[in-house]
């Protein structure tokens, strides 16, 4: 392999899409990257630790009883194809399921979902289900495009930034850079979060609302805006529909105050700051989406932006921060039970027919397939997991992991995750810097990543593995990322003009990119929305039933992330520099609650929700809101107690809130 001095790459952790260089001996910062300007968070700084880690999977391995034996690639690939065909023959396509990966490239996810669909099933999902499935449903319906409307750096142009349900300072630290640039120009920053997070440190106004009361807060703000005539009437008239149905007069500041626990004056102040600013942005994340009312929460956010006309201009937009380096791309590629590539609904037979012709398929399945949470309950005979530790990331699956594996299970990953441990066959995959292809960041930025290192042992790029499996099933699917990208050009309209050349330039290219010479589209919806009639839909939502405390479970458990770890931890837990700074799970407790329940700082405690019990170490901190606890979900304990209530519209589990109790474990 040709080795140049330094090879540009994109961080494999979160979805911000930061660039850096991989050198022969380490890394160098990339100061001319448009998103991070050289900066990296602690995880980015530790990114190379996963390459050549001693735990990397090096050979295909087959389970024999409780033991693993090394097998050849040809034996492993034959077995995958045989088992898939056997399940199909004996039980039909409903017995097959596939889990794609928000950490794999666009090309890999595209081919993976294509295999699933050519086998006759829509039971293909990826971890977007647990971060932004409500965003997909709500923003697609309201704005036409389920993605961030403006790029991250655009935040520097905002005059008011309303951050709700996002602790970006810990989870997307580089985004804070652009928010601080806006503050330097005098922008007002409002943070709505029950906890005093490092993001709240940046706020001019911190709304420490009760967990799960986001809709009341936003409706209350809209009501203030309408009462004071601060709405953007011409925008509402010319660019939206449905405004006449928006009657939120019940949401008086006083009533919203009693629901949210906020001062009425703060609700009014937030509404005025947001509405009066020349350009305002809403930034949200899983504090909005991971609720049984997640889809309604996103709808409320979009209503607020539409009523004020704060969409479609520099500095004015709706910015759902995505979680994984390619979660936007995996969804664009249709690695979802409810969407084909290019956001074609599984119920839209005409749209799917275009793909059927492109793929030369006889027929393609219609109707929503199994989402990840449904897989343990389904009568599966074959499950193919590509690059996802589902056992440690889905409470429902975590608790029923043995039921996930009713038939043959293949896991393709870079480490022996807890999901891989229950599989029958484990295939070693190349990591991000050991292969080529495109990743799409949270801001729709598509970036080509080049190979900078050799994969360990016999580990192979996921695309090569999928192509080999497909060949054994009788499908001719290319193992070359550039050839697959050329097919994506035809299958996904927003990617029509994306190539290795424009995605490989510094900073790549932001979709939609309709033809090869197009410069990309950083700001969406500037003149019309991508809905069929070009108008955005305003749609009233109201406060649904909440998880409530009871005498038995008097506290509310909030789950989330910490800056030094990443999701289920299969990568960050293998970085010494990260682990020694955050070695174990700690549960944040407000000192007054600690006194009430007899817990001291550093105590081992038990926590119980109606879903289960877990053990952790208590950390007393005034940042926690009284009456609530916080557990980071990077550690398996959190999955033992997290809620399984589902938002039926998006199939998102309500991971953010669960009534609970705590006691000292003696």
């Amino acid at each position: 392999m040709r080795m140049t001095a330094r090879i540009p790459t994109v961080c494999p952790y979160c979805a911000v899409g930061c660039g850096f260089y991989i050198t022969r001996n380490g890394m160098e910062y990339m100061q001319d990257h448009p998103v991070n300007e050289g900066a990296l968070c602690p995880k980015g700084n530790a990114a190379l630790d996963v390459l050549n880690h001693v735990d990397r999977l090096r050979y295909p391995m087959m389970r024999i009883g409780d033991d693993w034996i090394r097998v050849s690639w040809s034996e492993a690939l034959d077995r995958v194809a045989e088992e898939m065909q056997r399940a199909l023959r004996e039980k039909g396509p409903g017995a097959l399921a596939f889990l794609g990966s928000a950490k794999c490239t666009n090309e890999e996810n595209y081919i993976f979902q294509k295999i699933a669909r050519l086998m006759g099933t829509n039971s293909i999902d990826n971890s977007a289900r647990r971060c932004h499935s409500p965003t997909i449903i709500a923003l697609r319906r309201m704005l036409g495009t389920p993605a961030m409307t403006n790029p991250v750096s655009d935040l520097a142009l905002s005059d008011c930034i309303f951050i709700i349900g996002s602790n970006l300072a810990e989870n997307h630290p580089v985004v804070a850079r652009w928010i601080l640039r806006a503050k330097d120009r005098g922008a007002a920053v409002i943070v709505a979060d029950p906890r005093v997070t490092p993001t709240a440190w940046l706020a001019d106004l911190h709304l420490q609302l009760n967990p799960g009361t986001d809709i009341a807060l936003i409706n209350g703000m809209i009501n203030v805006i309408l009462n004071e005539g601060l709405e953007n009437s011409s925008f509402i008239k010319e660019r939206t529909s449905g405004f006449e149905g928006l009657d939120l007069s019940d949401y008086t500041p006083e009533r919203v105050s009693s629901i949210t626990g906020l001062r009425a004056g703060d609700i009014v102040r937030a509404a005025r700051l947001y509405a009066k600013a020349g350009a305002s942005s809403i930034v949200y994340c899983m504090g909005i989406t991971q609720h049984s009312c997640g889809t309604e929460n996103v709808t409320a956010c979009a209503n607020l932006a539409l009523v004020c006309g704060h969409v479609g201009r520099p500095g004015a937009g709706i910015l759902p921060l995505r979680g994984q380096n390619n979660v936007q791309g995996a969804c664009d590629m249709g690695a979802l039970a409810d969407f084909y590539p290019g956001w074609r609904s599984v119920d839209d037979s005409r749209a799917i027919d275009e793909l059927r012709r492109l793929w030369n398929a006889r027929a393609l399945p219609l109707g929503r397939g199994l989402t990840a949470d449904m897989m343990p309950e389904a009568d599966l005979r074959f499950l193919y997991v590509m690059g996802e530790d589902i056992v440690n990331s889905h409470p429902a699956v975590s608790r029923r992991r043995e039921r996930l594996k009713r038939g043959f299970m293949v896991v393709q990953d870079i480490f022996m995750t807890d999901t891989a441990r229950i599989a029958d066959l484990v295939l070693p995959a190349a990591a991000w810097a050991e292969k080529e292809g495109t990743f799409t960041s949270t801001e729709r930025r598509v970036q080509w990543v080049s190979r900078a290192r050799e994969a360990p042992g016999e580990a192979r790029p996921d695309l090569w593995i999928l192509s080999e499996v497909a060949a054994r099933l009788g499908f001719d699917l290319s193992p070359e990322p550039e050839e697959v990208l050329a097919e994506i050009n035809q299958a996904v309209p927003a990617y029509r003009g994306i190539s290795r050349s424009n995605a490989g330039a510094r900073g790549g290219i932001i979709w939609p990119c309709p033809h090869p010479d197009h410069p990309g589209t950083p700001v969406l919806h500037t003149e019309r929305f991508s809905t069929p009639d070009g108008r955005a839909r305003i749609s009233p939502v109201h406060h649904p039933a909440l998880e409530r405390t009871s005498p038995q479970h008097p506290l509310i458990l909030i789950t989330g992330r910490v800056v030094l770890h990443y999701n289920a931890g299969s990568m960050s837990m293998r970085s010494e520099g990260l682990v020694k700074r955050e070695p174990e799970i700690r549960i944040d407790v407000h000192p007054e609650d600690a006194a009430r329940f007899g817990v001291a700082d550093g105590d081992a405690v038990m926590i119980e929700t109606r879903w289960g019990r877990a053990r952790a170490r208590a950390k007393l901190t005034p940042r926690q809101k009284r009456g609530t606890l916080f557990m980071p979900f990077h550690f398996p304990e959190t999955n033992l107690v997290a809620s399984e209530i589902i938002d039926e519209k998006s199939m998102m589990p309500e991971l953010k809130v669960a009534a609970c109790r705590i006691w000292r474990a003696d």
Binding site: G26, M27, Y29, Q31, N36, G38, A39, L40, C41, P42, G44, N45, A46, D159, A169, E170, P173, V174, A176, R177, L180, K183, D184, R185, G186, A187, V196, P198, T199, W201, L202, K276, A277, V563, L564, G577, L578, R581, T621, P622, R623
Partner: protein, 144 residues
């Protein structure tokens, strides 16, 4: 050469500077202190003009060389006076003395800082940009 200046209002406590410094030098020479979980302050060598660490060093192992304190490990006796003398606790002892050398001019802590809380500048540039930021914020208040 400039020095590293901190704007504590920008620090989000992510500890990226620590992880980067540790990757570069094996042992981090900057550490982020969280104060009651309500603020974070990176603590590091400020390259003091009249450096207490160099003043107490009786062997000349730490000494001022122009703007910078330089360290000669061969002369160090590990007596520990310097890390007691440093007002920031920025010198650590771990079989050798660890102190900041500004990475030879491009400190990784500054380059990696997501929020530009750490800056390598001379003092005039720092006060100049603080002034223009303050003016920007005041102007925005006047506009509204």
């Amino acid at each position: 050469m400039g020095k590293i200046y901190l704007d504590p209002e920008r620090c989000i406590g992510c500890r990226s500077c620590e992880v980067a410094c540790e990757r570069e030098h094996g042992h981090p020479r900057i550490s982020v202190d969280k104060v009651k979980d309500l603020a974070a302050v990176p603590v590091y060598c400020h390259q003091c003009d009249t450096a207490p660490c160099a003043a107490v060093c009786y062997t000349g192992s730490l000494r001022l060389d122009g703007d910078m304190v330089v360290f000669d490990p061969d002369l160090c006796t590990l007596c520990g006076l310097c890390f007691v003398a440093c007002p920031f606790g920025a010198i650590e002892l771990d079989s050798v003395i660890h102190r900041c050398d500004l990475c030879g001019g491009t400190p990784v802590c500054v380059m990696t800082c997501p929020t530009e809380a750490l800056q390598l500048e001379d003092i005039d540039a720092i006060t100049g940009s603080t002034r223009s930021r303050a003016a920007g914020v005041l102007a925005a208040r006047v506009r509204v």
